[in-house]
Point group: C2
């Protein structure tokens, strides 16, 4: 029976989903052709058609992580401080989907830090993220909703705060339910605001 | 020639140092018997005497990380807010040694998150670290150097801030030289203080 283009696309989606699931449960350390094959219900042989090497699998996984992050739904940004808050809330693991995505990001740091090319790419990605946040901080300063001072420093501090909160939530979700994450972020923003 | 106890101890120290170096440069993803053997200048066969399995090597590496963290030099804690600041400075990658150690911690998160036993151990470790910080925060509140409010929340926020800063520094050391790390931490503490 001839395979159709539809079959091929459907199989490709299944493989993506399987790679995502393996990363969300086992991290990059557990990302193997065998694990993906088991998840998708295919033979390891078939998987080598998609990923001839382990390196190809890791590269695919990193691209998938990037794509899903870029295309994830975002809060409709308010203005000023509300827009800063929205951007930070968008990062936190407040839903199961955001938890999986953060879990995979944190897990990818080991791989990224040990590869100079990847590491440079990550540094650029985080710098761009700080730059976007810096613009929102500057806009909030213009509205006098944040204190004066270098907006890049305020953005770097805020990014540090949410990244570190992500790590603590992943290890101890019981201690950091979504409501507490939001409260801690609001305490952080309140302290920034109070120092005007 | 009979091997003496001294030889054995010296070799053990060499192996520890080699495991540390491999982790600091290649992370847990690159921690293999072969890499450790190459670093220590021994055969892989000799290394299997120390680490019969990959699991044994990873376990040893995690113990080594824990030991070196526990025994690292600490700032002589001042009182009140100064003691909070000292504890946070002790975490930051302000020296090459602290950078290696942080690099290995961040790298270990992938391994730890994918293993329920390790993950529980990490959660406990970070909770204890927050508890110790909570005591210092409460002491600073008694001196009216920090605002009232749940000291556990203030400690969790401060821990989040430094952990996230660590991650940003590791990926982009040029953007976060030691002086800027300290300034960002001091800005963070100043905002907390100003909200009294």
């Amino acid at each position: 029976m001839p395979r159709t283009k539809g079959d091929h696309e459907a199989r490709r989606r299944d493989v993506s989903e399987a790679v995502w699931q393996v990363m969300a449960t086992r991290g990059f350390a557990g990302l193997t052709l065998r694990a993906v094959a088991a998840e998708v219900g295919a033979t390891t042989g078939l998987l080598t058609h998609y990923f001839p090497t382990k390196h190809a699998l890791v590269e695919y996984a990193l691209d998938l992580l990037e794509q899903r992050t870029v295309s994830r739904p975002r809060r409709q940004a308010g203005e000023g401080l509300a827009a800063v808050r929205d951007a930070l809330l968008d990062i936190l693991p407040l839903t199961p989907e955001a938890t999986d995505s953060n879990r995979i990001w944190v897990s990818s740091w080991d791989t990224a830090l040990s590869d100079p090319v990847l590491s440079t790419g990550y540094a650029r990605k985080y710098a761009q993220s700080r730059d976007r946040l810096t613009e929102r901080v500057a806009a909030a300063q213009e509205l006098d909703e944040l204190p004066p001072g270098d907006p890049a420093d305020i953005a770097a501090g805020a990014q540090a705060f949410v990244l570190g909160l992500v790590v603590q939530v992943l290890f101890d979700p019981a201690a950091f339910p979504p409501q507490r994450q939001v409260e801690l972020l609001d305490d952080y923003l309140a302290a920034l605001t109070a120092s005007r």
